[in-house]
Symmetry: C2
Subunit: 223 residues, 2 copies
């Protein structure tokens, strides 16, 4: 009798999509603490957002709460995980096994959140003797074979900035359709390929801007 789309919710706002992983993490935390039920108020506090926003976000997925009671932690956790698509594991390749690539390869948060690193690639032959986090570092030339074999759709770029675009191009040609870029450069990719970036310098510079304003506001008119 519901006039909504029955199970496949349509067009979730991007801002909501970006918060769903936060809710997922908050729910996992609550579950570990033995909490079986929580209100939107509690969950919102744990996730650090407004409770009205949380409820609106969840309403895009469907009606998974119970009025007067709240949400079943485990049930909601599963629904969000299913919506995001992390109920099954996503194979991931990391390209550029330098300082940052090593850290990423050793990051346990991948596995525990629905991602599995299937290969580490580097252009430098000297690196190919290394074994990092139980995986041997392989030649970048193996990219196509690995993508095909493991049906990889997500690639991580941790190479120097100058190499990033060419790596991205190779990834796209090999069939990868989602890229997470750590190199400080703007990547261009064809329609249908999602690119997200993580940029440490930008984050710091944003902090610096606000920091500077605090300093100026503090000194006011010194002359």
């Amino acid at each position: 009798m519901t006039a909504r789309t029955p199970d496949s919710a349509r067009d979730i706002p991007e801002a909501t999509v970006a918060r769903l992983p936060v809710y997922l993490r908050a729910l996992t935390g609550l579950a570990e603490d033995g909490t079986t039920t929580c209100s939107s108020e509690e969950l919102a506090a744990t996730a650090g957002v407004n409770s009205a926003k949380l409820r609106k976000d969840l309403s895009y997925l469907g009606s998974y709460g119970t009025r007067g009671v709240g949400y079943d932690v485990e049930y909601l956790r599963y629904q969000i995980a299913r919506e995001i698509g992390v109920t099954q594991d996503w194979p991931v390749v990391i390209v550029g096994i330098g300082n940052l690539g090593h850290a990423l390869a050793n990051y346990s948060g991948f596995r525990s959140r629905g991602f599995r690193v299937v290969a580490l690639l580097d252009a430098d032959p000297d690196r190919h003797t290394d074994v990092v986090a139980g995986l041997e570092v392989r030649s970048f030339e193996d990219l196509e074979a690995i993508v095909t074999e493991h049906d990889v759709s997500i690639g991580v770029i941790a190479t120097p900035a100058v190499a990033a675009q060419s790596v991205a191009d190779r990834m796209v040609a090999a069939g990868i359709t989602s890229i997470l870029n750590f190199a400080p450069t703007v990547l261009t990719a064809p329609e249908g390929v999602d690119v997200r970036k993580v940029d440490l310098s930008i984050e710091l510079q944003i902090l610096a801007y606000h920091e500077q304003r605090k300093a100026v506001a503090g000194s006011e008119d010194v002359s």
Copy 2:
């Protein structure tokens, strides 16, 4: 004769602040290529944004272009750097020198973009013998002394999630007013303290969501 605020531009929108570092990087790239002048169209293309958006963003800083000509690369670069506050170096402390902390300490992009790592701190005494990137790893207990000595206002957290909030509290108590958090947890901080987070898992999960939608759209009605 300008009715604008003469030199200290007021309240730049947050979305604009987040893009200024991108423009700064694009301008640095153009300068390295020997370009002395560029139009908003060129710069926008390099930075990967709409040219109207770029012009509006720059208009918040002042009127630094010349109609019919474009922008002087070096001049605009300096103006943005000054606005962000990266014409002088900002001292930074990194707490948690594990996998990620090592990579961050070795990251050359800090120094070249207006930041100087003045100390590496870790709670584990076994780490205190290490020297990373020319800096010895010191005890977390030294935080207050270091913050006071170097007048540090920016702190980076690369500890496990469980420790992040207590580290943040100590930072705030020591006088740090801007925090960049890599731990996958929601931090709370008092008014006046800026907290930004970099969350790898969230980025990947956002990619996974869109990836899943692509897959569903491709298969349509399989039943």
